[in-house]
């Protein structure tokens, strides 16, 4: 899942550690999400969207095509 976390963080001039503190997670987790090495859970993804006052789709963008469309009816 691609995300715009690094851009959003830069807009607010927050460090990774500062963002991690605001989200209640470790700096390691923020870094792993930013670099795309870790996809956050739904509660954390919603928490990130809420913190930046964005919709969740504005922060996270699935690279794969919509799975639901490929499912048989």
């Amino acid at each position: 899942v691609k995300n715009t976390l690094r851009v959003l963080r830069a807009e607010r001039d927050w460090s990774q550690a500062e963002l991690a503190d605001r989200l209640g997670v470790s700096r390691q987790t923020v870094n792993a999400i930013e670099t795309g090495k870790y996809d956050p859970s739904l509660p954390l993804a919603f928490g990130i969207a809420r913190l930046f006052d964005r919709m969740i789709e504005e922060v996270f963008d699935p690279e794969q095509p919509d799975v639901a469309r490929r499912r048989p009816a």
Partner: protein, 215 residues
């Protein structure tokens, strides 16, 4: 219903800052235990080594003729001071919420107390016998620190921890089985406590490997 209506757009203020998260990367190659933590763990080890040493000297002094009567009291007082130091350091680490350092400190204190000769104490008076159980105190503190550490982890750290424990379990399982076969071939019998050490060591290696994957 439009997309905007079904997607929650939060307007709530940012959640408060919650400090005190434990960086599990501290267990990896970029180990960054604070200087205070290193000092505390070192002092803890020194205190834990001093306790059995002083108790051993005290038990010897009791049976040795010609020694000054105050020698035994001095050695026993020293053992109590060392025990007080260890207790103080554990309390300081717990108050600081430095559970990783407390886990390490508990481990080294356990080994320091476990390795000493318990024979004279086990055969001693009613007051001396319970001292044999002394290693159980740091063991309990280690377990407590570990549980606190796990509870304080976030979702990624919990994943890393789970992967690392899997590595620890598999390595220890394989090592136990392999050595049991080697024992049949004539290798010396090894105390079960070393399997515990193998588990911790392979767990730490697993932490380093898993942490690296998400860096």
């Amino acid at each position: 219903m439009t997309q905007t209506e079904i997607t929650p757009r939060a307007t709530a203020p940012a959640p408060p800052i919650r400090p005190g998260r434990i960086e599990f990367t501290a267990c990896g190659p970029t180990a960054k235990l604070s200087q205070q933590a290193v000092l505390d763990v070192t002092l803890l080890y020194a205190g834990a080594v001093a306790i059995p040493l002083l108790v051993k000297l005290w038990t010897r002094a009791k049976t040795q003729p010609g020694l000054e009567p105050w020698t035994g009291s001095l050695l026993l007082t020293g053992a109590f001071v060392a025990a007080g130091l260890v207790a103080f350091l554990f309390r300081r680490l717990a108050r600081r919420g430095d559970y990783w350092a407390m886990f390490l400190g508990g481990g080294v204190a356990f080994f320091a107390l476990f390795r000493f000769d318990k024979g004279p104490l086990a055969a001693g008076t009613v007051l001396e016998k319970p001292l044999v159980l002394l290693p159980l105190i740091p063991a309990a503190l280690t377990i407590w620190a570990f549980l606190k550490m796990v509870r304080n982890t976030d979702e990624l750290q919990r994943r890393i921890l789970y992967q690392a424990l899997s590595v620890g379990f598999v390595v220890t399982f394989a090592a136990t089985l392999a050595y049991s076969v080697l024992e049949d071939l004539g290798l010396p019998h090894v105390s079960a406590v070393w399997w515990w050490a193998t588990l911790v060591l392979s767990w730490v290696v697993g932490l380093a490997i898993s942490s690296r994957r998400y860096r």
